[in-house]
Amino acid sequence: MLKYEVQNKRICISLAGDFVGYDFPEEKEKLYSLLNSASGLFISAKNLKNWDSTLLVILYQLVKQAQEKHIGVEFEDVPENLEHLVHLALKVDRKPSLPSSEKGSYLENLGEWGWNIYSSLHRAFSFGGKVLSSFRRLFQGAAVMRGVDFLFALEGCSYKAVGIMSLVSFMIGLILAFVGAVQLKTFGAQIYVASLVAIGMTRIMGAIMAGVIMSGRTGASYAATIGTMQVNEEIDALKTMGIPTMDFLVLPRMLSLMITMPLLTIWADFMGMFGGAFVGVVMLDISPQEYWKYSIEAMNLSNFMVGIFHGFVFGIIIALCGCYYGINCGRNADSVGVATTKAVVSAIVLMIVATGIITMLFEVLGI
């Protein structure tokens, strides 16, 4: 029980009984406010029994405020350890100073925003330049890349990705065929579902699906792995040993995705066509031979090669984004999550932008 009275501007507080889980905010506020006009503070704990931090916090707040207001404090029969803890809490080692969070003017903010964009672009282009130098060293036979790292990266983005790639591409082919069949059936032209799926998958959809899957699967894994290495100071260790991080970490990952992405794109093309065939044969009563014939007729080498080229470019984008955000990751667990998210989102956005540019370019070239 907490009792208090004011005698000649002196607050006399009596603590008795148990103070475990003591939580009466209004009462405490009233007591704290009395300190504004007090000239002394007297605390007696003659009949105090059990107590915990909820009592300690009251005494701490009272004595702290009393000290700030230069009010004298007296203790009577307060347990020695309790009094000691109050004094321990009042001992300040050093005063903290948080970095200023004051908002600048509109112009300052605009300038800062512009500067941040410039810095990001500069960092990204400089990273690209370093990757190119790393490739130059590779062709000169001077790159510090371990064969086993390359094989390990190759394993991670080759046959291990085939399962998910097959399932998703099959489903995309199936959806494409369904959507096409609904329209084509009205003209009695459902046989052209085979052509639609074959062209759609080989020219772009196969590559896009492979890119989306691999950016979520492999690009994210690159960012998380390299980001964790940054947190564990492994990248600092590489730098101090004089080992180029680009050669050691980025090169094997880029090479493996540049090799496997075109192959995975081809695989995605065929799995998508199987998905389309499933709809054609089972639901539209097209014979397998006929479906195959129309698919082959619709497919041409240039469409096929365009898809593979897309896959190759997407491979570069995914590896670049994963490695870039991993290497530029912060030093805590949170940053690894942020790096991974940014790697996946940036890769997908850049793949769409790249698709637009390549499509325009090929249109101009008549491919």
Binding site: T54, L56, V57, L88, A89, K91, P96, L98
Partner: protein
Amino acid sequence: MMENKAKIIVDDLTIAYGDFVLMKNVSFKVNKGDIFIIMGGSGCGKSSLLRVLTGLVPPAKGDVLINNVNFANASQAQKDEVMKKCGILYQSGALFSSMTLAENIALPLQQYTNYSDKLIKELVSLKLALVGLTGFEDFYPSEISGGMKKRAGLARALALDPEIVYFDEPSAGLDPISSKLLDDLIIEINQSLGTTIVVVTHELSSIFAIGNNSVFLDADVKGVGGYGDPKELLKNPPNQKLLNFLTRGEKGNA
């Protein structure tokens, strides 16, 4: 009045990972108000023993009683109830990087008490003040030094007024002055709050400065190589290995 009741009883404990036995026949007792040291060379299983004491790893054989609850056959709910009265300071502080120091310390209070927001805020300031971090409420772990992270971790460990506080290598990575300050803080908390303290360490200066009881784990015998007050063990070492350890090999090799 100081009751000398055992808070932790470890009886004939075996810790194993699959077929690999890390230690066996380990028995010791930690009394209320003790500062108990678990010491031994690198790789002897100190941290594994701590993981058993905190319920993270089940014992392969034997009994581990914390506040009279046997972790060998207790349900997860029983273990959780016991662990609410225990605080742990991990080697790196293990503060949640996405939260400020105040949010880190408030988390167990919000989870396990019905205190008002105002009281929680006051308690957070108090706990930070007790470890010498007054005014650091709004800082993120990445904005403070390693020693401060440990102190903030200790403030979080003390949030629920625990009966037992475990320390995993508290001196690791700290300069001698910060290490001494942390040792002093451990003694202050032990004496002022009567908290039972279990410290896993191999820092000799800390062992002799704070410990009043200890167990020495010997990797060669896969078990206990000494048990008692570390100062007494130094005076009357039960074996050469322990003397070697306590004197950094200076007397043991003579």
